[in-house]
């Protein structure tokens, strides 16, 4: 293990003294900034919706703000909690997650797992919890722990990817049953990134991809609306009113923002043109209201956050810390990139939350928790 740490430190870049502290500070600052952007955006995007639902206009804002406070508390605690504990907690956490996901798909548990919009994604435990959000974090931890433990053996198909598949597939299956295809795919991607970082063979990924594609293909075809989404993504202009609707509305929101945006609170697309404007299309609202300036600010924040996360990872005292930091960074950055990609029509339209920004307590708390763990990883001196 020393070899790995040493080889990483051999990098031409030698962090200056105190740079770790500065990186941590910046990471925290960007996190808080994005949370604030989120609160502002959620208010603008949801006030009309809230009123239409007969709620006070700041209803969603207050919900999000309280979750943000909880999340920051979690962040504070986890930043002080030795990250190495997760190596031991990986399996128990995975068990809890699997249990939660299982409850969602069980019949007869509607009391604590009520269906919403045709999907059962939430556990109602006094507070609404989205197990699939938790699963993202737990799977990253678990993947990092497993990869760190396996070391060189990761490069064998049997001991490497196959072992991961044994755990990933049931998790993904449960999540797909909710249904929440995009979360399952995202978790797969996050695990893949962790494994890739840990040195798994590229050939294995290609093989995995070839196996996964027909599976996904069949599954996508089974659900015709997903099919339509993909088709319209490939040819967005062909259908002006039907299934390309969300994509077109998102592009209209982004495009009409121009350079400077239409102004805060002035979004017209939030008036039900965009579905879930405070959640799945929060970035589109930002793009509309703040224009290219807003897009640039948010995208660059994500980029800086990613670079900081990778830098923290590289300074990690051990391989687990390294893989964990990369995974957590990916959890935040990949989600954000996917969310933005969907909004801009670069990816098929699917509901991915923007960490810190999109409305939703689970996503927010999990993202802040991830930052907390990252900060702890970064606080260790090599």
């Amino acid at each position: 293990m020393k070899d790995l740490a040493a080889s990483l430190a051999v990098d031409a870049y030698v962090p200056a003294a105190g740079s770790a502290r500065r990186d941590a500070g910046m990471l925290l600052a960007i996190t808080v900034f994005l949370v604030l952007v989120g609160l502002i955006t959620v208010y603008s995007a949801s006030s009309f919706l809230a009123q239409k639902q007969g709620l006070p206009d700041h209803y969603y804002l207050r919900q999000q703000a309280s979750k943000a406070l909880v999340g920051l508390l979690v962040l504070y605690v986890l930043a002080r909690l030795d990250y190495r504990i997760y190596r031991r907690l990986a399996w128990p956490l995975l068990g809890v997650t699997l249990l939660a996901l299982f409850v969602l798909v069980l019949p007869g548990t509607e009391a604590i797992a009520p269906p919403r919009n045709g999907a059962r994604r939430w556990l109602d435990l006094g507070v609404q919890v989205q197990p699939s959000e938790l699963a993202k974090l737990v799977m990253v931890i678990w993947a990092a722990a497993l990869a760190a433990k396996k070391g060189e053996r990761l490069r064998s198909l049997r001991w490497g990817l196959a072992a991961f598949g044994v755990i990933y597939l049931p998790v993904a299956f449960l999540i797909v049953l909710e249904p929440d295809l995009s979360s399952a795919a995202l978790i797969g991607l996050l695990c893949a990134i962790v494994l890739f970082t840990a040195g798994a063979r590229i050939g294995h990924f290609i093989l995995l991809g070839l196996i996964a594609l027909p599976l996904f293909w069949e599954w996508i075809q089974a659900a015709s609306y997903r099919m339509a989404r993909l088709v319209t993504f490939l040819d967005a202009g062909s259908d002006p009113s039907g299934v390309g609707y969300q994509l077109r509305q998102s592009l209209i929101a982004v495009g009409s923002g121009g350079v400077l945006g239409v102004g805060y609170g002035e979004s017209a697309q939030k008036y039900f043109f965009l579905p879930e404007p405070h959640n799945d299309f929060a970035f589109a609202i930002i793009a509309e209201e703040w224009g290219l300036v807003g897009v640039g600010t948010v995208a660059l924040s994500v980029a800086v956050l990613g670079v900081l996360g990778l830098r923290i990872a590289r300074r990690a005292p051990d391989v687990f810390g390294y893989l964990l930091a990369v995974g957590l960074t990916a959890l935040i950055v990949v989600s954000a990139l996917m969310h933005m990609g969907v909004s801009l029509g670069l990816l098929p339209t699917t509901g991915v939350t923007f960490p810190f920004i999109s409305y939703g307590g689970s996503s927010l708390v999990v993202s802040l928790a991830a930052v907390g763990i990252l900060l702890n990883v970064g606080s260790w001196r090599t």
Partner: protein, 672 residues
């Protein structure tokens, strides 16, 4: 160890690949945003506007139609169609109850609102702004009023055939509404209203982009009160004489302005002004024009006589008859007693072409050019198409079809000294900013006869009223010149029927300097069918009532026709007002035509104080005095004072309690 070093290199590379992928992804996102927001920004913004904004038409109020005094005949008012979106209502059943009580709607509509099954309900009918506001006060959300501009007639159906109607879309359909549609129609504006994806729009987001510009107002030459009078007099006459219909026209001969124009048919409502659209054989009322031709051409003199014998005259295989034998008649007498035989004999002196050209010159057989959407030219055949009988027929008013309008304008030429005027129905159109958009000044079409010929004819026509066929048209205290006409009506099946007549009378008042020409025509009156027995009394009633009313202020009395100085395009003041007198006919009205009104006839001025000015004036006028009215409201004093012995024919000034200044200084050429 080698493998460990390779692994370290590999991990190192992969770390950088991750970083590279991150930066590439962010770069891709920024590039895509640049493309969408900057390069294609305008295009997307256009699409956004297209779906966020709905163009809301802002209707322009249609111009008003005023009478010559600026009294409203037709106005536009904005009413509201109200749509309800039950889903937006806070409390559907409460809202339904409010709607029911405020708008007094039936249970069906309110039930539908309370049920809320339909997303969009239109309340039946239109509602006033007041009702709309009441409703909005109590139901803050869920109501969607849509303004509708419709026409309102403050004076009811007054002059309905003239002003016409608008169709469902507010476009002129008939009458002046049609003829002046482009002038009356405003330029609608539009606003932009934000809407949400459900199509619901928020009123507070409506922005006016182009303000509507209201249509221009049209000022008629009609006098609303005279028109009302004409209509009611005609109505009564048609009813009393059991006529199938009738027309009544009052024209100011010096300007050609129509002061009143009424047309009635007993059984149906007229779609247009038949006085301009339906020609008829006018009979004796056309005789003066043949006489005018004879006089103007010097082919006869009023003193020339012919022998009408026993009242029948055979010419060109046809026998022309008088009602009673008159023996030898002068031309003047021929006209005064309306002898057909005399006219036929005198007409032989006229070359056919001359007779034709005079009739044509008086305006028969050609449209008058009235600013009204439809008009008949009537029928006057060329001499080449005449039969041997035509000359005699034309002399007594047959074989020629004229509209009442043509006839009244031809008499106007006799009244004003020989000038055929173009009939005016519309004086001007003013935009809301006061710009003249359309204007027609009195227009002389042509001189028809020399002034002295017109004067001679007026004299004869005056005699026709005092001695001849038009006696019952005489109004005490007023000299009337005029001519009756009783024409057999031509029937498709029976030819000229012995039972069906058109009775008409055209009067010039006062006879020496006519200020008004009044035409009354009654179709198929039953009973005493002669013009003198039916149409003439109608005219007397009309004149009497007119003289007693305040509506007389409009026609300027003596002197030049009033034409304001303003030119088109220059902001104008109000339409020219009349003199301050109730009676513009403040000229010597009392002629010696009535022997009872001679100089020894003296009476005490009665106490008319407290009466309405109109009633007071009528009373004084009936007693034989000329009346000048000052002020308005009720009569408070007379000058000379009540009880003063005053010779009839003298002037009495009647002072009203309302001391508002006269609208115009006294006409210097007016009161004698």
């Amino acid at each position: 160890m080698r493998s460990a070093a390779r692994q370290a290199r590999r991990l190192h590379l992969r770390h950088h690949l991750l970083k590279l992928a991150l930066l590439l992804a962010v770069g891709l996102i920024l590039g895509r945003a640049l493309q969408l927001q900057v390069l294609e920004g305008v295009e997307w913004r256009t699409r956004a506007i297209a779906q966020h904004e709905t163009r809301v038409p802002l209707p322009a109020p249609r111009g008003k139609i005023y009478d010559r005094e600026g009294r409203e005949l037709v106005v536009s008012r904005t009413t509201y169609e109200i749509f309800v979106a039950p889903a937006e209502l806070a409390d559907r059943s409460a809202a339904a109850e409010v709607i029911r009580s405020v708008l007094r709607l039936g249970p069906e509509t309110t039930r539908r609102i309370a049920e809320g099954k339909r997303s969009w309900i239109r309340l039946p009918g239109t509602y006033s702004a007041l009702q709309k506001e009441k409703l909005e006060e109590r139901i803050p959300r869920g109501l969607h009023p849509q303004p509708v501009v419709d026409r309102f007639y403050p004076r009811g159906p007054l002059a309905a055939e003239i002003v016409g109607r608008v169709d469902f879309n507010g476009h002129g359909q008939s009458g002046l509404e049609l003829g002046f549609d482009s002038v009356l129609t405003g330029q609608p504006g539009f606003g932009v209203r934000q809407r949400d994806a459900t199509g619901a729009s928020a009123d507070w987001l409506t922005v006016t982009v182009v303000a509507p510009s209201p249509g221009s107002d049209v000022y008629l030459t009609l006098d609303a009160e005279l028109q009302a009078l004409a209509e009611s007099v005609l109505e009564d006459a048609v009813r009393e004489t059991e006529a199938s219909g009738g027309d009544l026209l009052i024209v100011e001969p010096k300007t050609g302005e129509l002061l009143a124009a009424a047309s009635r048919r007993s059984h149906w409502r007229l779609p247009h002004l038949t006085a301009a659209t339906e020609p008829y054989e006018a009979g004796s009322t056309l005789k003066p024009f043949t006489v005018a031709a004879l006089l103007a051409e010097g082919l006869a003199d009023l003193m020339d006589t012919v022998n009408t014998g026993g009242g029948s005259y055979r010419t060109a295989g046809r026998t022309i008859r008088d009602e009673q034998p008159h023996g030898r008649l002068s031309l003047a007498q021929t006209l005064a007693v309306s002898s057909n035989v005399g006219m036929a004999i005198f007409a032989e002196r006229l070359p056919k072409g001359v007779q034709f050209s005079y009739l044509r010159s008086f305006g028969f057989g050609t449209p008058t050019g009235l600013t009204y959407p439809s008009e008949s030219p009537g029928l006057l055949r060329r001499p080449s198409e005449w039969s041997a009988q035509s000359q005699a027929s034309l002399a007594i008013g047959y074989e020629v079809a004229v509209t009442p309008l043509q006839l009244v304008m031809a008499y106007g030429a006799l009244a004003n000294g020989g000038l055929l005027m173009r009939p005016l129905l519309v004086r001007e159109a003013q935009s809301a900013e006061g710009m003249i958009r359309w204007r027609r000044d009195p227009e002389v079409v042509r001189r028809v006869v020399p002034e002295d010929v017109a004067g001679k004819l007026r004299g004869v026509l005056a005699r026709a009223v005092t001695q001849g066929t038009g006696r019952s048209a005489g109004v005490r205290g007023l000299s009337v010149a005029g001519k009756t006409g009783t024409a057999q009506r031509f029937d498709q099946r029976q030819g000229y029927s012995g039972h069906s007549y058109t009775s008409s009378f055209v009067g010039l008042i006062p006879s020496d300097d006519p200020q008004l020409v009044i035409l009354v025509k009654l179709d198929e009156p039953s009973g005493a069918y002669y013009g003198g027995a039916t149409a003439a009394p109608v005219m007397r009633t009309a004149v009497r009532a007119a003289l007693a009313g305040s509506y007389w202020s409009a026609p300027p009395l003596m002197g030049e026709p009033e034409i304001p100085d303003e030119q088109a395009g220059v902001p104008a003041g109000r339409a020219p007002a009349g003199s301050p007198y109730i009676f513009a006919l403040d000229t010597p009205l009392l002629r010696a035509q009535d022997e009872r009104l001679t100089s020894q006839d003296v009476a005490a001025v009665p106490d008319v104080r407290g009466l309405s000015l109109r009633a007071a004036a009528q009373r004084l006028h009936e007693a034989g005095w000329r009346v000048v009215v000052r002020g308005g409201g009720r009569a408070v004093s007379t000058q000379p004072a009540v009880g003063t012995e005053l010779r009839r024919g003298e002037r009495v000034v009647l002072q009203g309690g309302d001391l508002s200044p006269p609208r115009r200084p006294e006409n210097p050429t007016g009161a004698g």
